[in-house]
Amino acid sequence: MTSPFWVILKRDLLLAIRRRSEIFTVLFFFVVVISLFPLGVGTEEEVLKKIAPGVVWIAALLASTLALDRLFSADYEDGTLEKIVLAPSSLSVAVFAKILAHWLLTGLPLVLISPLVGLFYHLPLNSIFVMMFVLLIGTPVLSMLGAIAAALTLGLRGGGVLVSLLVLPLYIPVLVYGAGAISTSMIVGVSIEPYVLLLLAFSLLSIVFAPWVTAAALKISLE
């Protein structure tokens, strides 16, 4: 497995294992934001059920922007990003590997820990499954769009805040349809299929275009 894709994917996962704190920061942030809401709005079952879909998605959006800052900046600072750009292979593929590693480290853990939210918010079992599934197909969009913003703001002072400002408005469709799917799953007799299909469409579209756009943005930022 020496293709740049595997080299970079393995490298980023190895780096994350050596430096676990960055993954756990994102995960704990997610859990903390989610557990703050019941403290603020009270523990009434009906209220919590109603706000759960929005809360879980907003927490996921904020947690994922938190992690974006380090996506390229660490490689930028030590010069390895130049090595990756100058590797004799497609930069888009290399970027895709980096985003995939980023999602595995920050998106996937959110999906896996999300049943906890179900417990906090009295969600029925089928809604918990729906929540996990829409997070699974929705969070890649967050990583993909986020990568574009991270690449564009690379090397700028205060880039971290700028990334959030750039990227949060772009997350709105995912928020609307992702939260919509979970809410709808609690209504008997209504299909969640349209929500899921639209989220899948966003996901596929971003997977196809984002690595390519990010690669172009990286080249500009490196100048």
Partner: protein, 217 residues
């Protein structure tokens, strides 16, 4: 194999670093770029790699502009910048393995360890590079040079932080590469005998003086 630069101009901010820079480099030649700090040596090297888009002029590799060929040119290129391009959390062996794999070469661990040994890192192969000294970090980056199959080496201040032994070793490696039909472009402030082959010198000092004069005119 040839690298041709025609009428290159680079501008950083408001000031022109250099303009009208033209030269050609062939196999078995070494080019040494000289100039004071801030004359644009690094920018020139980055422009030659395609990391920096020159404001004017072309860089042509084997009769094709590098903008029009990506992978063909990059396959023949080894670039070492100011940064060592190594990960502080990984050890020397892992860094070397990743750097050679990114360049498209797969080597067994024996070969990688031998290269680290050759560059004088015996005993430090498995230490995280964060714990190594500046010179040792530079050596980790330079170990990839020993295993590179690229024809054109572009090295930005390769001798920085190296001790006498490593400087001598690197001189030999560079000289050998030039003799074996390679091409090397480097910047250095150290006066070191580099190779028996042909050395081309370019001095960027005049270029900036000219601009300063223009500004005052």
């Amino acid at each position: 194999m040839s690298l041709e630069v025609t009428n290159l101009q680079c501008i950083r901010g408001d000031s022109e670093l250099f303009s009208g820079l033209s030269f050609a480099l062939k196999s078995q030649q070494l080019m040494r770029i000289e100039g004071q700090n801030g004359t644009g040596k690094t920018t020139l090297l980055r422009a030659l790699c395609g990391l920096y888009q020159a404001d004017q002029g072309t860089v042509v590799w084997n009769d094709v502009p590098i903008k029009k060929q990506d992978e063909e040119y990059l396959k023949e290129l080894f670039f070492l910048g100011h940064n060592n391009a190594i990960k502080a959390d990984l050890n020397a062996l892992e860094n070397l393995r990743i750097n050679t794999a990114l360049a498209g070469n797969k080597y067994s661990d024996d070969v990688l360890l031998q290269a680290l040994d050759d560059i004088g890192l015996f005993g430090s192969e498995y230490k995280p590079t964060a714990h190594l000294s500046q010179g040792q970090k530079r050596r980790v980056a330079l170990a990839a040079l020993l295993l590179s199959k690229a024809k054109l080496w572009i090295l930005d201040e390769p001798f920085v932080a190296l001790d006498g032994f490593a400087v001598k070793l690197l001189q030999d490696v560079i000289a050998k590469h030039v003799e074996n039909d390679g091409m090397v472009i480097l910047t250095t402030h150290q006066e070191v005998p580099l190779t028996n082959g042909e050395i081309v010198r370019i001095n960027l000092d005049q270029k900036i003086k000219k601009t300063i004069n223009n500004n005052y005119d």
